[in-house]
């Protein structure tokens, strides 16, 4: 990226909880350095002062759940040189993609007093299903250090280091004892994308799969092992139907156990 001017950054929100864009504000110590090299031009969560586009970098949080949003994302793409999706919602449809496994009216009729006011799509879909995405940063929420890493890599013209191998490698490099082998705790680590520095297993919890499927995930082998250590079909469906329920490998695995 040319360094003759400060790149302009915009942060956009779709169906999401705001946790990922908050990760940018969470940077605290690094925030001043961030503002020094990047012009935070459009970030309503941080400031009402909005500088009009075009933008060099757009960070997009959230999934597409309404026809209005399905239009809006195209406008954002047109204003953005580089579009980066941040978090499980934007990269896979998020927790709200649970609707994709049923009829959305089943949810709206329970949640809202007057469901007739709700205008929503039947499916929650990732940004990539609608526009070209330059880079996807995983996590629910994303890791703020990875966000800084992606931005500094972009600024300095190098590849970001966000490896897509298993969480297990993070565990082993830290010296964690495997919770599945030593405690028989069901863990999604072997099929989950690294990035959290093995947060849950470091506290003797099984991985919840917050970073979605890793590269070439072998989910069926893991699910079989889960059953051996006492998980029920329901447990397996629920585990794969979390933050990344609509990511294909997780979706297929949950469907396999739902059908049984």
């Amino acid at each position: 990226m040319s360094r003759t001017h400060k790149p302009k950054l915009a942060v956009w929100k779709f169906a999401s909880c705001d946790g990922c864009q908050l990760s940018l504000l969470d940077c605290e110590d690094e925030l001043l350095a961030f503002a020094e090299v990047i012009q935070i031009a459009n970030f309503p969560e941080a400031s009402r002062a909005v500088i009009q586009g075009k933008y060099d970098i757009s960070l997009v949080e959230g999934s597409i759940t309404t026809s209005h949003d399905a239009e809006r994302i195209h406008k954002i793409r047109r204003q953005s040189k580089i579009l980066i999706t941040i978090g499980a919602c934007a990269t896979s449809g998020g927790i709200q993609a649970l609707r994709n496994f049923t009829d959305v009216s089943r949810y709206t009729s329970i949640v809202y007093a007057n469901p007739s006011y709700i205008s929503t799509l039947n499916k929650s879909t990732p940004i990539r299903d609608h526009v070209y995405v330059d880079f996807e940063l995983h996590g629910c929420p994303i890791n703020k250090y990875q966000l800084i890493e992606v931005c500094s890599a972009l600024l300095h013209g190098r590849a970001p280091i966000t490896p897509s191998h298993s969480v297990c490698m993070e565990c082993k490099r830290k010296g964690n004892v495997c919770v599945m082998v030593a405690h028989q705790t069901p863990c999604l680590g072997p099929v989950t994308h690294a990035g959290c520095d093995a947060l849950c297993p470091s506290y003797n919890r099984g991985c919840f799969g917050c970073y979605g499927p890793k590269e070439t995930p072998q989910t069926s082998s893991l699910a079989k092992k889960w059953k051996e250590i006492g998980a029920t079909n329901d447990d397996i469906v629920r585990a794969f139907r979390g933050f990344y329920s609509y990511a294909e490998p997780f979706r297929k695995e949950s469907e396999a156990y739902e059908e049984e």
Binding site: R158, C168, K172, P217
Partner: protein
Amino acid sequence: METKNQKQRILPAGEFNVFLKALHEAGYETIGPTLQDRAIVYDKISSTSDLPVGWSDEQSAGFYRVYRTESPLLFDYNVGPHSWKKYLHLPNLLLWKAKTNGGGFSFIEDDKSVGKQAFLGVRACEVAAIRKQDKIFLESEFIDSAYKKRRENTFIIAVNCTKAGANCFCTSMNTGPYAHSGFDLALTEIIDGNRHFFFVEIGSATAEIVMNKMPELELASRHDSTLVQNNMREVSYAMGKSIETTDIQRLFYDNYDSNIWEEIANRCMNCANCTMVCPTCFCTTVEDVTNLTGTEAERWRRWDSCFTMDFSYIHGGSVRPSGSNRFRHWITHKFATWHDQFDESGCVGCGRCITWCPVGIDVTKEIKSLQKSKATV
């Protein structure tokens, strides 16, 4: 009268703290087995109370459990998830750091000095694993300075196994259960009637310096030596697993296209746990990071694994895109091409890859399947 070997001595178990103190006085930080998170892992040791006395372990494919025993033994267990490579070939290592200055940049020296470390409880298979990594990092054309710095400051106290684990096959790989060389001191823990002692073998001049820091130990008798020999024989017979290593290289080269690899790939999650726990796996990746302002850069080296896509990524994609490719590559290197590369096997038979594979893939079983499939061709 029997002539006694000056290099074989007796350390009463009750005096073990005196020995640990001697190590400390000789300037070593001692690292040894400790009980943490329901497993026996390597960490700092300052007295015998840090050792998992009264604990043992049970292992099978994809399974590990520690349990309480009534035994007074200090080393009544087999190898756990950690290996000594985490102290010699660090999982994360800062290679260098640089800073911009004016028009150029300058390196910031990493002056982190390496202290003297004593590894307590190095099993025979682990001594062999360290020797294999020595060969890679110290005895080839290119010397790994980071490894060398740590290795030169390491004092190895081998502990011969007094029981065999269910996933152990060191006898097949000719690495154990008895450490014949490659240590500074070797201990064999013996209970003989009401005597509980360590049969000590002195293996280096450095060890003499440590021994001089404590009251002189009595010389071992022929009876003591016999007890050690008997123990080794029993442990060898009790070995949990075995593999037939005759023609093992051919076995892999002839079965490159075997259907077995696809079948294994249905189970293998390519999660890389086997390579991370393997005491000989040495592959790393190098990462360059910059700060946001571009004024500082760091180069890190981290443990990598041939089970990742990035490992073999070149222009156009990964050389080994499928799980079957990657498993075949790993096991073939370990048992066959390692011979071509380093004139020996890459496996020491510690069984860690079997225990710590979350789905319990057992290399000894897979090798037997290959041998069987070959026999029927």
